[in-house]
């Protein structure tokens, strides 16, 4: 019998270990997203009333995700896993551009720059981990169709500074929101599938 590392069964990570790692990454990714949003808000958004304009403007808004505890508990775990995958995929493209475009912001602090790069990395890692979990849990075929396109690059490159800053604000606001959803849903799934709702 091959000798497996701690947490492995037949040299495969247990589902519990997969979830543990996924929640660690999602927790960290949301922490970074939240920090980045606050830094940007403090530095570039004070008094500009961006929040009122940021209403209903996330590119992932068309994905019907649970909005309260009851919805999160009633949705089938396979559907919730697919939604998480869909949200993660929907952020691949914008995170690539965010990491490159953030350099153009006037006096963009180093802390915002490296966070954008780190979050892009975390998003990829989490996507890989989630595909393993889905592969392990799914009875049927893994669905790749849940994904929402992002067409926000031109607005990140606008000449008018106020419009461009609002575009960044809105993207970071949506990233904070979606990364929090992912983290919250993963914690619910982990408690449901691993601990039988007895975390």
């Amino acid at each position: 019998l091959p000798i497996c590392h701690n947490g492995y069964i037949n040299c495969q990570l247990s589902l519990e270990e997969l979830f543990d790692r996924a929640v660690k990454v999602s927790h960290h990714m949301h922490f970074l997203s939240s920090e980045m949003f606050h830094e940007f808000e403090d530095r570039y958004a004070q008094g500009r009333g961006f929040i009122a304009k940021a209403v209903n403007s996330c590119h992932t808004a068309s994905l019907t995700t649970p909005e309260d505890k009851e919805q999160a508990q009633q949705i089938h775990h396979e559907d919730l896993l697919n939604l998480i995958l869909g949200v993660l995929r929907s952020w691949n493209d914008p995170l690539i551009h965010l990491a490159s475009e953030v350099h153009r912001i006037k006096e963009a602090p180093e802390t915002i720059l490296w966070k954008a790069v780190e979050i892009e990395e975390q998003n990829k890692r989490l996507l890989e981990g989630m595909e393993k979990i889905v592969g392990r849990v799914h009875s049927g075929e893994v669905r790749n169709d849940i994904h929402t396109p992002w067409d926000g690059l031109p607005s990140l490159q606008l000449a008018d500074e106020d419009s461009r800053l609002f575009a960044f604000y809105n993207l970071l606001h949506c990233l904070r929101r979606d990364s929090h959803k992912i983290d919250n849903y993963l914690k619910v799934l982990k408690c449901r599938l691993i601990y039988n709702n007895n975390c």
Partner: protein, 204 residues
């Protein structure tokens, strides 16, 4: 007409419902009524407060059915009397970020002896009853503080998500005060501190 009312605070105690409070407008002695109106992100419709009673005067209580997360609520309060009416500034709220739990409960303090016969303190506690941490919907983090009864400075210790803690290197013969509070992971506010609990460390 009455002056502009102001929305003071909105709070969710368990990430399932929330309540908003407002400061009534000064009304110059005329009988003035208040109406809370809100709209939700992604919807044009304007709703009125679903429940003015449950949370007491000058408040609006949103039960589970009326509470959505990751959704911006645009809330205003209108004051009206026989001279006319006036509307508060809009208050933008996402309930995700206004969770302030109740304090932890069932706190126990137990003195034990280490193998080297040194006393140490074992603290255990439970999440506030309203908070559903078992399903994973709400994840709480805890912080405890203690100080000698006559001391001035609290020592504050963040203990993450665990609900028990061992404390060593306490001074024999001292009487200590201990309190615990909690907060959702990521967003929200620390709860109030739990009631003070006392423990005396034996001298032998």
């Amino acid at each position: 007409p009455p002056e502009k009312p102001t929305i003071i605070k909105c709070r969710s105690p368990e990430k399932e419902t929330f309540t908003c409070w407002w400061k009534p407008a000064s009304d110059g002695g005329l009988s003035t009524s208040h109406t809370l109106l809100y709209s939700k992100e992604g919807e044009e419709k304007v709703y009125e407060c679903p429940d003015y009673k449950t949370a007491g005067p000058n408040s609006c209580y949103f039960d589970k059915k009326h509470t959505s997360f990751w959704t911006i609520y645009n809330i205003t309060v209108r004051a009206t009397n026989e001279m006319g009416s006036n509307v508060s500034d809009p208050h933008y709220v996402d309930v995700t970020y206004i969770v302030q739990p109740d304090p932890p409960v069932n706190i126990t303090l137990e003195l034990k002896k280490s193998v080297k016969r040194k006393p140490y303190l074992v603290l255990t506690w439970s999440p506030p009853p309203l908070a559903d941490v078992r399903s994973g919907w709400l994840t709480l983090e805890y912080e405890l503080r203690l100080k000698p009864e006559e001391g001035e400075e609290w020592e504050t210790i963040f203990v993450g998500q665990q609900t028990q803690c061992k404390m060593f290197s306490l001074n024999p013969g001292k009487r200590y005060i201990v309190q615990i509070h909690c907060k959702p992971d990521h967003h929200g506010l620390w709860s109030e501190w739990s009631p003070e609990m006392y423990i005396e460390i034996p001298t032998d």
